[in-house]
């Protein structure tokens, strides 16, 4: 299969294409030059003037419709993604299909409606209206540049959707680890509504190409970027407009003693969160704090979790790890096995096959990030109120917490976790499916893109 891993405005005059092969799948990629980028940005700015005149709600309805089409397994864009993504991303076929379904489920008409409500009134985008004691008007960015990560299909899509709804043109640099998915999405938008398609441009180039990034950032009012902490620091220094960086984050879970009467079912949902996307996402849990005093001990829960991990490995087989990833898992397992052998309170559970999954029970409560590739730690706490105190040194990196507790405990627990620095609290089993309106890094999606102008009479 050969597929274009780019999306360009139709008016672009000429460009060179190169191919990259992943087994049976060949991607066409545009050879990006500073001159081509400058030309593309010119086209995007013209297209932007048109879509900025359209109502955000109307654009949202069109995007929502695009996602409805993607939900059909017969949709040609969806089919291309299903065939190509396993080869490109190293996810198993079953994971790609399941992951796409999960992703698309989140983009319902209701979700788009809720997103649009983030901006109180569309009037603020159309003229000066009373704001407090004066007048104010909100402008959307003329150009938003997106630097994406490729760890999970659809990372960065919310930012792209938000910019488009506001009538901003978007220049997207995809990750080399997945140059395809967002390009397919943009092409599907263009097919549904060519005018919106003209305001989207999706390309791939290797990170660190300062000559290209200078052009891509120069006219961007907003840059939204995903990547590791070092990349974020580096990019932030080179962006003239506003910069929203999504650096590395980690997630975990907490399990109350009262739900352990139903431990098997909790383990099932917990294992699902840790197995999805082979734990490559920032919403993937690294460890679970399990409260003592329930019907199952934390150690017993680790055993149930291991059984559930094995079941999920059968249903959603893991992808093939790189040599480095495999070595990291081996090193992690070896360290814990050695501790177990010298009599520490540690239990190591491993997959029947190779490196499919790993569960470690460890009495030591220290918050310990996992080596990923479906590796989860289980640690005991005498009371869930202790958890906040264990997070202290990881505060800047905390993202989501999957929670399994009785409903009457959730409010107190959520307040403690929120105070400790986490950004999202949700039931276990739903960690990887945040609502479209979730406040990633504590920010709003649409609202934060706006630039306000105050007019004092």
């Amino acid at each position: 299969m050969r597929v274009a891993a780019y999306h360009l405005p139709t008016k672009v005059s000429g460009f060179e294409v190169e191919t990259r092969s992943y087994g049976e799948v060949t991607l066409d990629l545009v050879v990006v030059t500073p001159g081509l980028l400058a030309e593309l940005i010119g086209h995007l700015e013209v297209a932007r003037e048109r879509i900025a005149k359209r109502k955000g709600r109307e654009i949202a309805e069109i995007l929502s419709d695009v996602f409805t089409r993607w939900q059909e397994r017969t949709d040609p864009f969806r089919q291309a993604a299903e065939v190509a993504l396993p080869a490109i991303t190293r996810y198993s076929q079953a994971m790609v299909v399941h992951g796409l379904d999960l992703l698309l489920q989140g983009y319902t008409a209701e979700a788009f409606d809720a997103l649009c409500r983030e901006v109180a009134s569309e009037e603020v985008l159309e003229g000066f209206v009373p704001v407090g004691s004066h007048l104010g008007r909100a402008y959307s960015p003329s150009l938003t540049t997106h630097v994406l990560a490729g760890n999970i299909p659809g990372v960065g899509l919310p930012g792209l959707i938000a910019a488009t709804i506001l009538g901003s043109a978007s220049l997207v640099k995809t990750a080399s680890s997945d140059p395809l998915f967002v390009a397919l999405w943009a092409a599907s938008v263009a097919k549904r509504d060519p005018e919106i398609g003209e305001a989207l441009c999706v390309l791939s180039w290797s990170g660190g190409r300062k000559d290209l990034e200078a052009v891509a950032f120069d006219r961007a009012e907003v840059v939204i970027a995903y990547g590791n902490e070092q990349t974020m620091r580096e990019l932030r220094g080179r962006v003239r407009g506003r910069f929203f960086g999504h650096g590395h984050r980690l997630s975990f879970g907490v399990i109350g003693r009262e739900v352990l009467s139903n431990a098997e079912e909790v383990a099932e949902r917990t294992a699902y969160d840790a197995s999805l996307f082979d734990q490559r996402g920032c919403l993937s849990p690294h460890l679970f704090y399990v409260e003592e005093g329930g019907e199952a001990t934390p150690r017993e829960f680790a055993g149930l979790l291991a059984t559930a991990m094995e079941r999920w490995a059968e249903r959603l087989p893991p992808g093939s790890p790189t040599v480095e990833e495999a070595v990291a898992v081996r090193r992690f397992r070896a360290g814990y096995e050695a501790q177990e052998l010298v009599g520490k309170e540690v239990a190591l559970f491993t997959s029947r096959q190779g490196l499919d999954w790993t569960v470690i029970y460890e009495e030591d409560q220290t918050f310990t990030p996992s080596c990923l590739q479906r590796t989860v730690l289980v640690k005991p706490v005498t009371d869930l109120s202790e958890v906040g105190g264990l997070l202290d040194s990881w505060r800047p990196y905390l993202q989501a917490v999957g929670v399994a507790v009785a409903p009457e405990r959730i409010e107190v627990l959520a307040a403690q976790l929120g105070e400790a620095g986490v950004g999202r609290i949700c039931p276990v089993g739903r960690m990887q499916a945040p609502p479209l309106t979730w406040h990633q890094e504590g920010r709003t999606l649409l609202h934060d893109l706006l630039r306000w102008v105050d007019l004092e009479a």
Binding site: T322, L341, S393
Partner: protein, 358 residues
């Protein structure tokens, strides 16, 4: 030495007969399984005992990282070597105890002379590594001292004192040797050589060391000097010391192993053979290159993890699973270096990156 199996290992190293390796390996495994309760538990977890094993390939290999926590000795060690540790000083160091140092030294001398002194030379040895007085727990220092005592001619000495390289002293000695036409053997860690080469490149001295001079370097750089590729190092050894590439032999060894591996180039030259450069496996060792995910053996040329089965480790565990990447070539392998920590991908986070940031 009273252990019969250890005696048989010693005899095998001195006079290897190919068909004996497998039988001896199983004997050593049975001995280690019985003598070492930690290793026994390690094997039992895998459901492998001396009764279930029919080939040395099935002997459970202990990961090098386990040497940091586990006592793997089969008897009271005569000598304990420690790994040098990485730049993170807080990291625990690996420990390897040798109950029978005679086995270590016999493996070392037999293998060293076959690859560095195949012509029977007894050169003066100039050593760019700390002596055992300075680093008593370093296996490399022990190794070089044993070699110096056994084969080094008069004037064989160390050029590292108090952890700094005596570069002026070395350069002066090299100048004297150049004039006297007496072959030498330079030995040391790769990063120490890079420091010397950098001084020579900056200040200008270069040498035409006498014919028959040779060099053995070992180890990576671990941030202690600039990184230099093997090809570039070989070019610089020739340019600065005047030692032909075939006479430059890289050694690959580790604290967790009682035997080492050397490039084939010098022994091939003496035997009049011409083959690409690779690490030769001594007859009392087997090396498998395995897929890091499945631990299945890989075909020639494919990069994987090295697992060694070393009879000279008869006092601890003979099967050692390393984190070193390499591929099979000729009758041995080529080493690519230590597998890095998993590269972080996307928006999730690896431990190593977090710890760097903290």
């Amino acid at each position: 030495m009273t252990e019969p199996v250890v005696k048989r290992v010693l005899n095998f190293i001195r006079e290897p007969r190919q068909d004996d390796f497998s039988r001896l390996a199983l004997e050593v495994f049975a001995f280690q399984y019985e003598r070492n309760s930690t290793y026994q538990r390690f094997c039992d977890r895998r459901g492998i005992t001396p009764d279930t094993v029919s080939s040395w390939k099935e002997i459970p290999a202990v990961p090098t990282s386990a040497f940091k926590l586990l006592d793997l000795s089969c008897a009271t060690p005569e000598q304990v070597f420690l790994t040098s540790g990485t730049s993170q000083s807080s990291e625990k160091r690996g420990r390897h105890g040798f109950p029978w140092l005679e086995v270590y030294d016999t493996s070392l001398l037999t293998n060293f002379s076959a690859h560095l002194l195949p012509d029977g030379a007894r050169p003066r040895m100039l050593i760019l590594a700390p002596s055992p007085d300075l680093l008593p727990t370093s296996s490399l220092s022990h190794m070089l001292e044993v070699v110096r005592m056994a084969y080094g001619s008069e004037g064989s000495t160390y050029f590292i004192g108090d952890k700094a390289i005596d570069i002026p002293g070395l350069l002066q000695t090299l100048g004297e040797i150049e004039a006297r036409q007496e072959p030498v053997c330079l030995l040391g860690s790769s990063f120490a050589f890079v420091h010397v080469l950098d001084v020579c490149l900056a200040d200008g001295p270069s040498f035409r060391l006498p014919d028959g001079s040779r060099l053995m370097d070992t180890g990576g750089f671990k941030g202690r000097s600039r990184e230099v590729s093997r090809g570039e190092l070989l070019r610089l050894y020739q340019k600065i010391f005047g030692i032909p590439q075939a006479f430059c032999v890289n050694e690959y060894g580790m604290t967790e192993m009682g035997s080492q591996f050397y490039d084939n180039t010098l022994s091939d030259r003496v035997q009049g053979r011409s083959r690409p450069r690779f690490k030769q496996i001594p007859p009392w060792v087997r090396t498998r290159i395995v897929d890091p995910a499945t631990l299945e053996e890989l075909p020639e040329g494919k990069v994987g993890l090295l697992t060694h089965y070393d009879l000279a480790n008869c006092g601890s565990v003979m099967a050692v699973e390393t984190e070193d990447l390499g591929y099979k070539i000729e009758e041995g392998f080529e080493i690519l270096g230590r597998a890095p920590g998993a590269e972080s991908r996307g928006c999730s986070l690896t431990i190593e990156e977090l710890q760097e940031n903290r």
